[in-house]
Symmetry: C2
Subunit: 410 residues, 2 copies
């Protein structure tokens, strides 16, 4: 892979009326929208070259990852359960990363030696109290994230946790159980952490809004705690920037092309919804992360396409009827890892016993591959625009690249 | 509560231009759509009275619940982990019920003595294999559900499980680990269960499609295994039918009124999406269940509103920007349990320490209440139609009623 190649492929043939399938935006329209994207493209190139945007330059930082190390050690000392308090952008990026380590996957059992992760991003009258009653609080640790330090849900949850801990330990022991990420300067959370909890505090990047914070310590401290490689994550994101800065025109940059395509389809083809449908359990929460990124960024002035989260193949059994026979108002983006031939092959004796001889010698990965191919073909056959983002393998590097792609495209 | 009262309230004032807020459908239009719903209303009343629809008469059955008992005992004998294999409608109803017992809730730890539930409704190259490698297979049991008995994903997963079990036990022990629900007559799953697994089999109701199967043994066997009361669930659903059959006109039936309202808003007010937003972690998967019910039933002939799942209050931090300032093309249905005053009150010392004195004496439930009120008011204030479904407490009875409401409305 050359330095300027992308860690994923971006295939838009299924979204162009000039493409093999004749579905979607006219080539002339795409050219128009790409022309309009030229100033944004130039700005992005300049921002990368001049390191003027914190959301992008974060990919080059190293000292903040080093600063995460001791805090991760603090959170992992003698720990069975790791609880994350925070909401919206302060939680979804970390959840997406945690999913790479198994969190939120059916049958999630932490890898040997790792704590079990729990994310409380919603305010609920029962959930937190019930968990606090059932968890072993002596071996449970809490990471509290709020950029402003004044998010009422997060503060309320923190107080509920402290009240529960105090039934089992003295105030002097509380600091062992907590770490906090919040911005510099006076705020409620920082004051409480400094004066009362006496726990470690990391600085939230001042110039990075919550919804873009996944590549900052907000995402990387949880990643580190769950055994992931934060450097690889940033390297994947950096490679997308490197590719963009070397592009000679807007159409050569996948995120700019994607943005122009989305806008063109919305305005010329009445596409009002954007369905993100990964074919991997480990990208289920990525689609949730995308949903908040997109909705927070683009829902303005009575406009904006509505982001919709889906998951393949399972939603073929739940949503495909609507996607195929409902209104033609959706763009479908499938994210696909190469799964062909992966997983163990089905045993010939068992397939015969079960009367599914056609599975003999095939693997679970072959079935996933067959599923996304069939779905893409069927959607396009019905005149629904489909684009494909392909990665070879899902790991920290490619996930970092996907994060950056969608942050740039938004 | 009288025999004919509903276990929930259905408030549509925020969807009518004649209402206090002047948002939504004109009263005259609603009357027109209610008139058009009259034949469907009459049919439903007749179907309930004459017990001619399996989806409805299932609420009166008892023998099938009795038949679930021994199978539940079989699945629970010496069991730490209970794995559910099935996809689409064969899984989502059971998942929704399991959530009432804690499944899929942040910080889920099974109640003392209960097995941990795992649902594999997606085909993924990694998830199942990884779980099988980490679970203690000797104390893990599997319930396999496929109405047709030929769902390839479910069969493939079953074969993968059997291959893993055979590395630890003889074929004669396999039957202890499985139970199956499938329709009568020859099919692959039934053949495999009878001849090879030698495990208990329950009949899938012949006249109930998967997406409506939650009140059959497909939902009730999992409910029973997880300590829920299947009779209360059906009683809640039955009360909705009882209310409908006693209604003297379409407008008196909440599901018929809801259906007329949805259709009217779609056709007169260009509402193309329907957002279901419960304010309870325990209804998060209910919104997923609703999404498949709606999409499978109503996405036809280039029409159909798109169902969107949301969760409150957390999505206020992620989706509200879009809901308020994006296109006015959505109907919002908030499901609200009475949480005011619930949960422990915040400690005055802690709220002072954290600089959030305004929380003193309030409870987590008060915050949830304040959140949904503010969201409903803000949406209506921006001209977005909002309806409210209120229950007093979420339990088997009210959940059964909500299932039936949405099955009838669809």
């Amino acid at each position: 892979m050359s330095a300027a190649s992308l860690p994923y492929s971006h295939e838009i043939d299924g979204c162009l009326s000039s493409g093999d399938h004749g579905v979607g935006l006219a080539a002339q329209s795409l050219a128009t929208y790409l022309d309009r994207a030229a100033p944004a493209f130039d700005e992005m190139q300049a921002a990368i070259a001049h390191k003027s945007l914190a959301v992008l330059t974060i990919c080059q930082k190293k000292d903040d990852i080093e600063a995460c190390g001791p805090v991760a050690d603090h959170l992992l000392a003698d720990t069975t359960d790791l609880v994350f308090l925070g909401t919206g952008g302060s939680s979804l990026g970390a959840q997406t990363l945690a999913q790479l380590a198994g969190y939120g996957i059916p049958g999630y059992v932490p890898r040997g030696g790792q704590p079990r992760a729990h994310f409380f991003d919603n305010l609920d009258v029962t959930s937190l109290g019930q968990a606090l009653a059932r968890l072993d609080l002596k071996t449970t640790r809490f990471l509290v994230v709020s950029k402003s330090g004044s998010t009422v849900e997060t503060l309320a949850q923190t107080l509920a946790v402290v009240a529960a801990l105090r039934t089992e330990m003295s105030d002097a022991d509380l600091g062992r159980h907590f770490a906090v990420i919040t911005k510099k300067g006076d705020n409620s959370l920082r004051g409480f952490a400094t004066e009362f909890l006496k726990c470690p505090i990391l600085e939230h990047e001042a110039d990075i809004p919550g919804r873009f914070s996944v590549l900052s310590n907000v995402g990387l401290l949880p990643a580190l705690c769950l055994g992931l490689d934060p450097h690889a994550l940033r390297a994947g994101a950096a490679q997308v920037l490197d590719h963009l800065v070397k592009a000679t025109k807007p159409a050569d940059s996948a995120p700019v092309l994607g943005a122009a395509l989305s806008l063109g389809l919305a305005q010329e083809n009445k596409i009002t919804s954007s369905v993100l449908m990964p074919y991997s359990d480990r990208l289920d929460l990525f689609a949730m992360w995308y949903r908040q990124l997109w909705a927070e960024s683009l829902g303005k002035n009575g406009k904006g396409t509505t982001p919709i989260k889906a998951l393949g193949p399972v939603d073929q059994h739940s949503q495909l009827q609507l996607y195929l026979d409902g209104p033609a108002d959706k763009l479908f983006t499938l994210i696909i890892a190469n799964t062909a031939g992966q997983g163990p092959a089905f045993d010939a004796q068992l397939t015969r016993q079960a009367g599914v001889d056609y599975l003999t010698g095939r693997t679970m990965g072959d079935l996933v591959t067959a599923s996304h191919r069939a779905t893409a073909d069927t959607l396009i056959g019905k005149g629904r625009p489909v684009r494909l983002l392909r990665i070879e393998t899902l790991n920290e590097f490619t996930l970092g690249a996907l994060f950056m792609h969608f942050m740039l495209e938004t």
